[in-house]
Symmetry: C3
Subunit: 264 residues, 3 copies
Amino acid sequence: MSTIALITDFGTVDGFVGTMKGVILSIAPQARIIDISHESAPQHTHHAAFVLWSSYKYFPENTIFVVVVDPGVGSDRRIILVEGDDGKKILAPENGILRFILPELKNPKMFHINNSKYWLTPLSSTFHGRDIFAPVAGHLLNGTHCEDLGVPIELPMPETPFKYIDASTKEKYGIILHADRFGNLITDIRPQFEHLDDIRHFSLEVSNRIIGPLKKTYADGEYGELVAIVGSSGLIEVAVRNSSAHQMLGLRIGDPVIIRSDGA
Amino acid sequence: MSTIALITDFGTVDGFVGTMKGVILSIAPQARIIDISHESAPQHTHHAAFVLWSSYKYFPENTIFVVVVDPGVGSDRRIILVEGDDGKKILAPENGILRFILPELKNPKMFHINNSKYWLTPLSSTFHGRDIFAPVAGHLLNGTHCEDLGVPIELPMPETPFKYIDASTKEKYGIILHADRFGNLITDIRPQFEHLDDIRHFSLEVSNRIIGPLKKTYADGEYGELVAIVGSSGLIEVAVRNSSAHQMLGLRIGDPVIIRSDGA
Amino acid sequence: MSTIALITDFGTVDGFVGTMKGVILSIAPQARIIDISHESAPQHTHHAAFVLWSSYKYFPENTIFVVVVDPGVGSDRRIILVEGDDGKKILAPENGILRFILPELKNPKMFHINNSKYWLTPLSSTFHGRDIFAPVAGHLLNGTHCEDLGVPIELPMPETPFKYIDASTKEKYGIILHADRFGNLITDIRPQFEHLDDIRHFSLEVSNRIIGPLKKTYADGEYGELVAIVGSSGLIEVAVRNSSAHQMLGLRIGDPVIIRSDGA
């Protein structure tokens, strides 16, 4: 039983997502459709790129991810299909939305989806989620080959967006990458330690404050205390126990952070 | 495998929709339940009427649409079941919520749902979504006949809410019908052209501005430029590339628009 | 076919819920996953406790409820599994979130979920919804015994949070327990009458106003009139026909109410 997982900026008010599901089920009645998020800020690809990356590996084999944050809809931007060697597939506009997930995939095959035989007619110029993405996902789930839906292409693999640190790192510059619902500020700093305890040799500078040493969980902080921990995505994040670091610090996506070892 | 598609004003905070799904699955465990929208403004039927119309045709055969925006719950308003000749069914309160979709259906059969044998007991006076709509939808999906769930009635068919134009139209008055998440302002003007290129002979007057000639897609506009296009529902809409026409123009549902041919 | 029903404070923006579903489907592809609410205010258990209570009985036999509002994540708070004699199960942190539903269950069996063999590795300290709750729910649905997932425990049963009244009640003090999307203010007063008509012998005092006698439905009030009725959860609530009592009265959760019989 195959899963289609959706990430869009369509919101849940207008019925756009429900309509896409109607199209998918008309073609592939056996589809199991899961919503990941429809609340990316309209037409900003950064949030969707992060959400795709952070949820990808938790989905079953053969999941088809459909990502529709598409400010260029109706222009000549391409629609890309990526097939990982784990059997998962991602369908998305070519607008940088894959920049977090692509570097994690081994030998991905890529296709430019251009076979309009599988699209709805009449084709609207403004709702390709319904007219192209949804039917292509349905046909993929039914077993139509990628080669039938488009043509193979090669795209340059983007560099990893993360700053890796290990136990020997002295200092590294990073940024705030994402703020979640709980007000946790997630950085692009990604520890790769053999022993997670090594985290206690590091502290984080953010907005002229030193937060450190790093802790293992929110609950190791006092109420109202800023803590830096390794969050659930494996990235260092700034949090406040039972409160919002985002609100307390007023930081924005892209603001700088520095991680430093205490030299111990 | 049959689909039940939900449109309500219940929001997603209180668990009303989840409770309806619990009732449906208790009766029809095989149901595939799809959310279209639960974010109609509380007790305003206009939004739900538009969303039902714009999504209807994209759902599979035999879909049962359940529409619960029901300011008259507990009064003597009737619950109506409509069966189209496409096998789809719509269950909704009799409050005008069907006025967009009914004129599109050919020879719909209509029923007044009044057989309380199929309802939950005790019947609340305030949550018929749970106590009547959900169980009736479940039984419909299980194959119970419309005639068992209620009695046939005849309702006057409403006039189409749309203003049709074709290549020979000189001038037509319309209104703003809907504003979507992206700030696109959707009018009630519905072109029926043999050649979509004919759209370029028209311009739209809205809020004392002339927007024209009509374009094919958002992407044909400059950034920040107002454009009028034929949107994904087949209606003329006002948009701004990568921005919000709604915010720029400050228009409201019901505000007037005029479309004019350039006489070419 | 077994159902997993989710209540969290994860919102729908970050993809947390979608990720949990990915984990569940990876383990139990046959799961039918229903969202009850993901919009509990972050880390406040009261709302989730109410929503769980009000939806519980409408779900099919064998439903597994997964409740993740978990301000103590990463601390030594326990995760509890409750099995009712109706075959339904509830998985939740031990933080009072079960205080509304537990008194309704007959002879519930309880377990402390502590067998990490069934959890994801590496185990994060901040997202147990993904790493513990989701996989445990998947294994439960696959038939793994509660005894394998944890150890039996006995917890004190909380007192009912409700104030019961019957036809002989003269006066009873209660509170506002919940405000729903429509602005209805739901109290903790729970009538148990043989004849619902007896409700007309009562009136409610709230915020120095007397609202009474109680009515049967919103629609029995004039537009703009405050009415008190027995709501869909069987609790007395304050409502305004087609408007918001919450907005009109400005009351908060916990504010006092008094119900009085007219002595007739």
